[in-house]
Subunit: 379 residues, 2 copies
């Protein structure tokens, strides 16, 4: 039997989105499909609060991260990669694969980078052309404050590139007002779409770098993609049309809910889940937590990976375990996109029972009470 997904992406997909995904495909060169592409682009603009065009690609969020590096930089360029988790480390790996000189700003997993730390790194490397940052580091649950980080980067004339895969639709992003130069993201997390689509938005300063870049890229070529979009409302290569059907519905659902309400819902869910796991003896790993995923450090006598399996096998909920150095030490509970407040008690109930099953006795209801106190506004 399939477990209910409380993973930090892919996330549970609403029925209306699944229905759209299961429709007969439109031809990717038809006017009907161009209309959908343009519509999705407009929604991305509202979502990111930008007047710059977003470009749609068929790939995962990682593909889009690579695309940003390959389109923006040139061989031998210097870039600062903020590495405070598994996905921050990915920026490092991608830049190295392309022969970019990487300055790694390494932080303990769970920490967020401060504008002062970034400023210091930029002082030491005034020739750094770009700074690569993960907004919501899904491996640790830490939120980086991209508004103040963008300011620090601009004070040093570096452009700032943000991966927002697990933050877009969870935390408000004001791309233009905050001066974020580039945002990349996949749509399989809070945007409630089955995996396979990703997008990028760039401002004028970033397009300047694109025109200078000498790194090889073809499938992910931003210029070619933008031109085709402008001219025909198309993508240069065959898009995952079924997923675009779904994305259109998902974005409309969020628009209907109201973006402010969407962000407020995620803030409530984040606070409630953190309260619940703390009441059950876990520690929330990050100091500045994201609202889409709770990364909870297991009590000493609880093996995180075993807990993940027990929840999946015996209690019908699927969460994620720790990645790399956090393997076995944490569980990661996703609560974004299609997950609503009403879904959280079943998650916490399952967690309480799983802990008891594993011999880690907790008083039934401890986590639930903490959860409900937050959801009902008592905390």
């Amino acid at each position: 039997m399939k477990s209910k997904l409380f993973t930090p992406g892919p996330t549970k997909i609403p029925g209306a989105v699944l229905s759209a995904v299961g429709k007969q495909v439109l031809h990717h060169r038809s006017p009907e499909f161009s209309e959908k592409v343009r519509h999705v682009q407009d929604e991305f603009g509202r979502l990111l609060q930008t007047h710059h065009d977003a470009l749609l690609f068929t790939c995962s969020g990682t593909g889009m991260m690579e695309a940003a590096v390959a389109n923006l930089l040139s061989r031998g360029d210097k870039a600062i990669c903020v590495n405070n988790g598994n996905f921050g480390e990915r920026w490092v790996e991608i830049c190295k694969a392309y022969g970019v000189e990487v300055v790694e700003l390494v932080l303990e997993w769970g920490k967020s980078v401060t504008p002062e730390e970034l400023g210091k790194s930029l002082d030491n490397h005034p020739d750094a052309k770009a700074v690569f940052i993960i907004h919501s580091e899904t491996s640790t649950g830490a939120l980086n404050d991209i508004k103040s980080l963008a300011k620090a980067a601009h004070d040093h004339d570096a452009i700032v590139v943000i991966d927002a895969t697990s933050s877009v639709g969870v935390h408000e992003i004001r791309m233009d007002e905050w001066g974020i130069d580039v945002i990349v993201a996949g749509t399989q997390k809070a945007l409630m779409t089955p995996p396979g689509l990703a997008f990028v938005a760039l401002n004028g300063r970033a397009w300047g770098l694109v025109s200078d870049s000498d790194l090889p890229t073809y499938y992910f070529d931003f210029t070619k993609t933008w031109k085709r979009l402008q001219k025909k409302g198309q993508t240069p290569f065959t898009t995952a049309v079924s997923l675009v059907h779904g994305l259109e519905v998902a974005l409309a659902m969020m628009e209907d809910e109201g973006w402010d309400n969407v962000y407020a819902r995620h803030a409530r869910m984040g606070a409630a889940m953190r309260a619940a796991v703390e009441a059950l003896g876990f520690e929330v790993l990050p100091e500045f937590p994201v609202n889409g995923v709770t990364v909870a450090v297991c009590p000493d006598d609880v093996d995180g990976n075993r807990l993940v399996r027990t929840l999946d096998d015996e209690f019908g909920v699927r969460v994620a375990g720790g990645q790399n150095r956090l393997s076995g030490k944490v569980i990661r509970i996703g609560h974004m996109g299609g997950i609503r407040e009403r879904d959280l008690p079943m998650m916490v109930g399952a967690l309480e029972s799983a802990l008891n099953t594993m011999g880690k006795c907790v008083e039934c209801g401890t986590g639930l009470a903490a959860l409900q106190n937050v959801l009902m506004g008592k905390r």
Copy 2:
């Protein structure tokens, strides 16, 4: 109202595949999903008649073509690209983007390359490391005989890389027996899956090149992908799980039909459609036609693009127009994957009526009669 797709991809998707695509997503790290990935891999092996592993990626066929270049070659390597159409030209563009020295073997659009022509080019460029060929050139409808071309390439110690996006599931491919080193393909054509997935299979000789390659690649990294597959039945990055659900069903349907029957059906459909358009005054462009798409040169007084629009707007069938230099001159009718013999009369009926509407009088039934003669085995 949506038109019925007779395009050369994306193609009409069977209902059973759409139902699978519209199911709730599985987590890409779950054992259930790994089972699906391994199952699809096995089917790819049977489909390509190879014992080498196929690797699955979330991208279009073009992404997979780029992946082959980036994984196999090194900067400054020389490669021969057979350019006998729009997709052959794409090999050239991709190789150039990566700094590969390209020898273009240019043929008139509609022609197929002969082993002698390839042999001559290899004689002139004995240092060419690889030959890139499109099996079924969707822009012109020409089939390249990859069996004899692979032999010619091996006689000169070059590896041969085949794009089989619009041939796989239409024309039999015996990868191991014919000594094809690398096959790349998207799954949105005869494999009856909505666009967004592609795969590559490599033999030992090709893996040798991969380990020497110095071109940058990350999302498309074959080695990393193969290792993750071997170890866990997973892809390194988030896959389009919904499309994998669909692909699994589509491959099972083809397996049920029997691969030989699938190929025979496409051969019948190809022959029948060619007979029909010839009876209506079109000329079949290629000398050696593929069976998945009929590329028909319009009579002098018929504008191909207008015919495409008329068919779509007034007669509910969507075909493709000519690409680049063939724009306005040809129409391209897809008949693969989910298209069955029983679907062809509606296509030909619509074509006859569209021609008459456009003032190009044809006797009603001329095309249909020719179609049926072939389908009923009279020709």
